[in-house]
Subunit: 117 residues, 4 copies
DNA sequence: GTGGTCTAGACCACC
DNA sequence: GTGGTCTAGACCACA
């Protein structure tokens, strides 16, 4: 399920994080499910294991997954954390725009415009 | 008017661009107003002149300011370009969130929540 | 009585040791009591028998239990050894904190704060 | 000021974190002070730059330092975060021991005993 | 020059 | 087999 777009300029480890969060938010991954091992996923996506490990490490620090030595990584109780992480950048950008004097109406207009396409 | 936050992860040249755009959108800077020279601003903000020059270059490329050899930089007719630049990051973040499966409704909720504070 | 938390970063064999020591210190297990066999416990806790065997081995090495060929493992005369093992990590952490320049007073403050909760 | 003990079995990146925190808590490093660059420190301590970068990354995530692209890493407003990080392991160990039924009195006895040496 | 990211490949403890 | 740590060396954007 996890996929990467090499042409995307976002860091790969972040793409992995987002991808996992998306699957959790969509119900594809549920509490207790085991993620592919770092090595496995790395081979699958043609990446270096360290890159995957970094992504898994961030997800663990955010309490979205937990790792068990010698067994693998598992999705934790979510409590909306995954969804929150998906909108993290958006929140920051919205806050910035509002702080710069853009009105909430203008922002919702942009959302409507984008979602219509 | 132009200010910089060194602990902000955004590149400094971008912070300068945003700062100028904010002033134009807010009416603090009007068509024809002269900006501080790159060297002046650099000394004022304790920056490398190259950084300021890069910011001014981008603003000129975007048609937000224009430079006159030996005289300085001046704000151009705006036609909303400044405002557009301010929402640039927001557009990208919104597009990303929508692409990740977040619904437009959730995004407008976040905006309402943030603008209420 | 013995229980394991898979999301705990401590090695599972150590969790088993601690769990047994806790029961001994609390009086739930007394001198001469028979522990579940390694195979039994492994099936009960969904663990690899080797992991349980490793834990029992350490407990025996520390003189907290003793094994009788073909009969099983039994808790030994304790003499405070179990209690000592429970505070093993604490001693190390305290030593480390003191070595880092934290004052004994600060540490006792933390203990009081934690025990009040 | 920052030093490493290769014979210590704690991860090197953690030793670096602790070392920096110690210096901040002791007032050797103050808000706004620049840390040695990752490459510089790595060469000094005979380490790989990545190891230092990992340590700096953790300190930044914990809000103890902040990094600026192209300039370096600087100590942030501390507000006791550094001290808190120094006692992090101790808190966890104390909580664990208390949870295992050890009395607060026994723990303070251990501290007194250790600090007397 | 700096930090941020990535790859390649190694060792370890744990299961 | 797994994750956690470390080394070596590369590329990039930024200042």
């Amino acid at each position: 399920m996890i996929s990467i777009d090499p042409s995307d300029k976002a860091p790969i480890f972040e793409q992995i994080c987002k991808s996992v969060c998306r699957d959790i938010a969509a119900g594809v991954l549920c509490e207790g499910d085991r993620l592919p091992s770092a090595r496995e996923l790395a081979k699958l996506l043609q990446l270096n294991p360290n890159t995957v490990a970094k992504a898994y490490g961030m997800l663990e620090r955010d309490g979205i997954i937990y790792s068990v030595q010698g067994k693998g990584c598992f999705v934790a109780k979510h409590e909306g954390k995954a969804n929150e992480k998906l909108t993290e950048n958006f929140r920051a950008a919205a806050r910035e725009a509002l702080g710069a004097g853009v009105t909430p109406g203008e922002l919702t207009d942009i959302i409507n415009e984008l979602s219509r396409k």
